[in-house]
Symmetry: C2
Subunit: 413 residues, 2 copies
């Protein structure tokens, strides 16, 4: 079984919205052994949707469609589906109840516009929507499956996770696609190529390798496809183990791991705590640590000392230190980490100070210069980094580096 | 002139990479009055690329292709282009010099693999790549333009900004596409429909309206297309003004504005400062404020008081208050804001405390319950929100609401 994704929406074609839905759906389908052959983004014009539905039906066994199911007038997908499947709109009691409940829960009464959303194609099976008013539609035709869902990401995701995937997984599997991604930090793509070239050249035939560089992190994705899931996993694991022996110092996680998640898991296991003192990252590291559910078990808090006044008043960094060494210096970064660790009664702390840009750089300390320190009760480690001239990427790079250093310090402690 | 985007790459079809390239290119083309008719994401198989090139040539005057130009063996785009345009590979001296310089700058010598990248289709005009080794290719055929570029975002962006767009803009403009997006907060899509339905029904023919709901924010995009740029702008502005009269209290910005940017601009104009005291948002608000370049002019810092101990020790909230009213209460939120404002010597402060989830909810205070306070020297405003049960969205919603309240308070001051 292979799949075709159709994303409907002008906002995608004018570049106002990035198509995260298609990427998410593709990753989910892969987990079910279903390959996505093509993704098409089209406008919400009737003819175009019809043509694309035909093309999709010619090519794939499963067609996922998102967008254009809302209550407003530019939402035409439901009507086009009726045309394509020669179906008629009928009132669905269950959907009407769901919509009514949705509004009631919010202390409001259903509007006429939304009541109309309970009119659904008679040939479709309904996929209920707990987070919104537009239901999803599942059509079976000529041995092929067509599933239409709203374009709102969390509404679509709920439908895919709770209904679509479980139903697809019940069918007999034709193949397995095993992806395993090894996550590295602290080494560039071309240096990695040099280190692991021999290993790459000797990979077994059924294993494919892809390099995926992003900001400060290079992901190595190994993929194997075939009928014997267990064997594929064995082959891939063997190669991952080999890779671990070649570049142990750069690997910090696998697959969907995040640096904040990996550091958090270590802290949780050890029943230890962490806090941050942030200048140039402006709370981004704290934000990432607390994006992890359950982080209250190990995260105490943060002092975001953007102004020097705050570095002095709250973190107790002497004005002389700021004056003589500068706010972006080893002394300041270390003091920030050590001081936050004590103030917030934590086992570990990270202190980050740098010049994110675009302004504030000097010849001696150009934009991108960043000092990062991590501190425990008996050790403080600090490093100087030269990132680039892009503010957004500098904040991400600094956050990644701080979290990687934190992981390193925890593992050493 | 309209355009067709072809994105080539397995990483897009397995969902490991989100197609930000296509969105960015679409937004740039729109600025040049060029509509994107379709975006197709395909694998790097020869036949598929050829078929898609044919389909694109049938539909559009301009075809932008990204991906598959790298030096590794899965990069086949260059060869397929040779087949499609009946072209042959020839060594290009300029490209070879560029690649040699690229390596030299990094203290390395050119490899054989990379030298091969100087072999380019003889029918293509070359687009030089200052950030990487793969040049771009520009083909003219039968009155249509085909442009192939690397998939690395910053390499592609440089080529589009410096070469592709300037060349396209030299051609006579056939049409202008004017987008204007009105940004609202604090009202759901279906209530907006009720409020602005009459206005929407009476929009001039050339103006199209789209509703774009996201987490806590609904964007209203007005689009007009035609030959007379000035007239189109006038028509759109008139409608935006009308909208401002109907829903003034919900509108906070336009187009690419962000809540943090809008609040920041106000503070900068007034030479005033802000800080935050965050519990459930864990630094996310500070992170958003400091994502804006130049925010050091008005942002002092933040106390992220995730643990109650930090609320007590650093923010001076009495344990009795936390005990009797709870950490998620009006009293705590207000105290957080007021205390941070004083400690960080700021004109304004936002205090946020809530239950982000998935755990920590009670019957009385379910997951999603959030108290937000904003405070100035003479006023403290606080509101209780009930968001949902999704941690990620709760953090975004709480951040949006806090920034919107902050804007409100600044405007009232």
């Amino acid at each position: 079984m292979d799949a075709f994704i159709i994303s409907i929406g002008e906002e995608l074609l004018i570049g106002q919205t990035v198509n995260t839905n298609a990427a998410w759906m593709a990753s989910q389908l892969n987990k079910a052994g279903i390959e996505v052959k093509e993704i098409r983004v089209i406008t919400d014009r009737r003819e175009e949707i019809l043509d694309t539905l035909k093309a999709a039906a010619d090519r794939s066994d499963l067609v996922l469609i998102t967008g254009g199911l809302g209550p407003t007038r530019d939402d035409v997908t439901r009507d086009v589906l009726c045309t394509f499947f020669d179906s008629e709109l009928v009132m669905n009691r269950q959907v009407l109840d769901d919509i009514t409940y949705f509004f009631k829960q919010r202390g409001r009464t259903i509007t006429e516009t939304n009541r109309n959303q309970a009119m659904v194609p008679d040939k479709a099976r309904i996929i209920r929507n707990p987070y919104g008013t537009a239901p999803g539609f599942w059509f079976n035709q000529a041995g092929k499956i067509f599933i239409a869902m709203p374009g709102v990401p969390y509404e679509m995701k709920e439908m895919v996770s709770k209904h679509v995937l479980p139903a697809l997984l019940k069918k007999e599997r034709e193949q397995y696609i095993i992806h395993r991604t090894v996550l590295t930090h602290g080494i560039g793509e071309s240096y990695l190529v040099d280190l692991i070239g021999d290993w790459e050249n000797n990979l077994p035939e059924e294993v494919q390798l892809a390099y995926l560089p992003s900001v400060g992190i290079v992901k190595l994705r190994l993929t194997a496809k075939g009928k014997d899931e267990e064997k594929l996993r064995e082959i891939i694991e063997k190669e991952v183990e080999a890779l671990k022996r070649i570049i142990p110092e750069y690997i910090w996680g696998f697959d969907d791991d995040t640096l904040e998640g990996v550091a958090g898991s270590l802290l949780r296991e050890r029943k230890e705590t962490v806090c941050t003192a942030e200048s140039c990252t402006g709370g981004a590291i704290a934000g990432r640590i607390t994006s992890v559910a359950g982080s209250s078990a190990y995260f105490k808090g943060s002092i975001v000392a953007y102004a020097n006044q705050v570095k002095t008043n709250l973190l107790g960094i002497k004005p002389e230190v700021l004056q003589s060494h500068g706010a972006v210096s080893q002394e300041t970064a270390e003091h920030m980490a050590q001081s936050a660790r004590k103030l917030l009664h934590s086992d570990y702390a990270a202190g980050v100070t740098g010049i994110a840009g675009p302004d504030g750089g000097t010849e001696e300390k150009p934009v991108g210069t960043t000092w990062i320190a991590v501190s425990s009760h008996n050790k403080t480690m600090s490093r100087k980094y030269h990132f680039g001239d892009n503010r957004e990427r500098n904040i991400i790079r600094a956050s990644n580096a701080a979290l990687a250093m934190l992981r390193e310090l925890i593992l050493e402690s």
